[in-house]
């Protein structure tokens, strides 16, 4: 059973308020190692410099969007195994199908609850302790 405190997370979202909500939710679940990026490029640089176990990313971001970030992470060998959860609105179903083609591990629909986010993370990592 993996411990949340041992899983490092990178949040990618251009909206500071959303990053704050995600961070707050992750801390409630038990995550400790949490980093933030304001767009896909910053996230990619961050995980190349120091890999994370999990990326939680928005779709709509400047410079490099969520799909672009996912593709970049998957083609770069040192980062290709990073778990990737996409944040989405209800109208992004077609984009989600594309994300699945590129290897997204799961998705979370906004607005989400802490329990809902935990459920999606556990679907990827297994039950968290």
């Amino acid at each position: 059973m993996p411990a949340a405190k041992n899983i490092s997370v990178m949040i990618a979202d251009d909206q500071a308020s959303m990053r704050s909500l995600i961070r707050n939710s992750l801390e409630q679940i038990g995550f400790v190692d949490i980093r933030e990026a304001r767009d896909g490029e910053e996230c990619l640089r961050g995980v190349i410099t120091r890999p994370a176990n999990l990326v939680i990313s928005d779709f709509n971001m400047p410079n490099l969007d969520g799909i672009g970030l996912l593709r970049s992470i998957r083609v770069h060998p040192p980062t290709s195994k990073i778990a990737f959860i996409m944040l989405t609105g209800r109208t992004d179903i077609e984009l989600l199908k594309r994300a699945k083609e590129y290897g997204v591990n799961n998705y979370v629909v906004k607005p989400f609850t802490v329990a809902g986010l935990k459920e999606r993370i556990e679907a990827v990592f297994g039950k968290l302790s």
Binding site: Q15, A16, S17, N60, R90, V109, P111, V114, G116
Partner: protein, 194 residues
Amino acid sequence: MNGAARALVSTGDGLDPCARRIHIVQGEYEVSRDPNVVLTTLLGSCVAACIHDPVAGIGGMNHFLLPDADGGSDSEHMRYGVNSMELLINGILKLGGRRDRLHVWLFGGARLFDRLTDIGSKNADFAEAFIRREELIPMGGSLRGSKARRIQFWPVAGRARQLLLSKADPAVLNPPVPTQVLPSAEAGSDVELF
């Protein structure tokens, strides 16, 4: 550039008969680049953000109400406001707007009934904090107070108008019923991809 971007506070009716009106109810948002469009809404304790990119000539309006914060943590309730603002901002960005150019007017957040919890003030607090946190450009508006408001917003011109309503106004007593609401926070399981 749009030097004409301004907020007007009106006590008269002032509705433009030539405009194509789109009414926004709670939980909705609308974005437009059509100069003939005027976005309208009716606010009590809810808040509407009117956002405009003066260079791209694009704008939009949302209308949201945070759930009563008595039943959970603050952040749990903020999700609905953050989501509503994000939908509106992303809608403007998709049409060619830029985040660093976004002008914002905030309206609503009234306390219509003294005996009830002042949820209007909480909505107003959230909206102001959001604008600060996201470093958007505040252009004013009208928050709190004790009267309902009818708002008109011209998204291309970046012009907002407010009409204060009395508590006896039929529009206050019988507000339009939402045709849709913000998606439930538990709505994530309706598509089976995994």
